[in-house]
Symmetry: C2
Amino acid sequence: MITEGHTLAISATCSMCGKRVSLGRIYRCDVCEGPLDIDYDYAKIGHASFEGTSGTRADGMWVYRDLLPASPGYMVTLGEGQTPLLKAERLGRSVGLRSLWVKDETRQPTGSFKDRPISVAVSQAREMGTDIVVTASTGNAAASMAAYAAKAAIRAVVLVPADTPVTKLLQIASPGARIVRVDGSFSDCSELAQAAASEFGWCNVTSTFENPYSVEGDKTVAYEIAAALGWRGPSWIIVPVGSGPLLVGIGKGFAEMQRAGLVDHLPKLVAAQAAGCAPIARAFVRNAETVEPWESPHTVAMGIRDPLVGYSVDGTYTLRAVRRSGGQAVAVADEVLLHSARLLTETEGLYVEPSVGVAVAAVSALADGGTIDADDTVVIVSTGHGLKQSPMSVDEMQGLPKIRPGLESLDALRLVL
Amino acid sequence: MITEGHTLAISATCSMCGKRVSLGRIYRCDVCEGPLDIDYDYAKIGHASFEGTSGTRADGMWVYRDLLPASPGYMVTLGEGQTPLLKAERLGRSVGLRSLWVKDETRQPTGSFKDRPISVAVSQAREMGTDIVVTASTGNAAASMAAYAAKAAIRAVVLVPADTPVTKLLQIASPGARIVRVDGSFSDCSELAQAAASEFGWCNVTSTFENPYSVEGDKTVAYEIAAALGWRGPSWIIVPVGSGPLLVGIGKGFAEMQRAGLVDHLPKLVAAQAAGCAPIARAFVRNAETVEPWESPHTVAMGIRDPLVGYSVDGTYTLRAVRRSGGQAVAVADEVLLHSARLLTETEGLYVEPSVGVAVAAVSALADGGTIDADDTVVIVSTGHGLKQSPMSVDEMQGLPKIRPGLESLDALRLVL
């Protein structure tokens, strides 16, 4: 049933201690600091809700409005979602898989999947009458929040690590968000956003697990993948992971569809991390119960460079989702992830940021090792555009040939082209 | 009728002298060098063909396969097209329009509308058995061709002006295209691509009017706009214009729909150019019959910096399309177009390259002057993403505040945020 009037979200439950809390401006569990998970009145949610048949193309992922925790009247949308699921035939041949697909989240308004969680979080913030939103971000979520806050005419403050690339800063600043560069890691920014929310009353839309509404946007990726594959879930979904809300969201989306009888199995979820910041993969390999923070994060994959200092419970939450699905967590060295990002671009024409390379490399390794079978249906989630951070270095552009106009000049180059 | 087997394109006609030519590897009219226009077997094309009901989301604009000049079996797609038409309420209020919309072509795979014409041109080149494709480009079409050639496993050579920004070069190089920087203007690159096609046998997919198949991709923008507005065409469509294939394509798409009885009127088309390179706007204002080349192009709007040297007939073709529609051609100074691009970002959250600013400024000027009425339905075509070229300068990022982690540091900044 499509509700025009109000959301079907009814409460939130702590994913760690099970405490139930009322909706409103909530962040973490006040008992154990665990991430909160939004509950819905599932009795009112039918197949049509997952099929996203309401609304128009410009409503984007809000065609799934029954399954989102903000009332439609407060929706702040830039037409996010409804991204294509592309068959990756050349990459598939290269890694030995016959049914490899790319869920192309680079096609979002600001060029990363973050537009889904941020659209939900800003909409919910608007419903709560928020004047100022704040976010900690490695760049992608901040660019997204800046755009959605502009659309909603809400003031936005963004806290980013001081070494965030200028390309991302320009994208954040252009819609009018106020940027504060923090001389520290993403975790320092995250802690500061929490403090600002608590002390200044700003609404914290940090789209990891800090803002429980944002994860609900991530889960719409699952609905779209299932629909594109004719309601047969894939065997594997490979996700680049910092703290993991996208992976957890996708798992939740499939669980909801299974509960509704729309899909008959759940995909195995793979958390792909960069070796230089891999708290979840480390815990997985060690068979640990909980995830520990990462001491000195160092990787070119800035979009997933999250050491989890101060909220390592978020990593534990993601680790549990991986294990429950029968999936894997893997760590990929910078050299390999850069090569893998380039491989995706060269074979499929999809220009992606280095973070996506971890997922491509993970698929390749798991297929090589026989964990993924050549006939399995596998989906890589391509989380961010190469225009945000190129996997190729500017130095490589120094050697490009330069000629005077005229065919002779071009002819002289033909052998090396 | 949806044809799986072969295209319904049957011939091409010179837009200037009317000569009819057979399809194949064709470029310009061999009599008068006029742009060629593709003809279809319209008797076989019904309403369903324009409604794009065949295919899936991942087929992108190829749901319009009956109206495209490559056989579906040769389709090279990255899921381009199907971009949202977004209501621009805040910008509308700012310029005094009640029904202002943005057709968001920044949502294409490579971040610009060029993915439509290039998808068609590369598909057709593939159908012709092409080994090497070449394009002249100010950057956007080249990035697109590099991506589609990678997907199709065809070698790609790209000719760009030597001052093309490094962000665009990285995007072109990553999929493996060979870049040649030409010490000259876009027109020099274009002439060189023509010579290479003629002398080396490379297929020239230059997506202005050089490759007649490419314009057919541009026209799908019209089908999508009409569908999103419930088959009521808008009163005005404002397009950033270099030589103008997108504007001409949109005009052709609406004419096709009118002929099929799907829409009852044609929109007025506005060609928006940068004042530093405005051959079409100059001819329009002077009431000239033909467009003359622009002597010294100079504008920050690189995506539309085309002086038309050697093919000014293309400008004449666009000028005629503007006049036939009852539209306008306007020129916008760099300072104004940059401000206007920023205004779109600040009000609607849509981050766009400077070229888009000319369309925003044109709407504002025409609304101010009373040419566009406050109640007219107006569509701005947003042609390229701000991640490709920011309307904000890197210098503006120098002054961003940088703090140590800790709430006191942030609190000290609160008044200036």
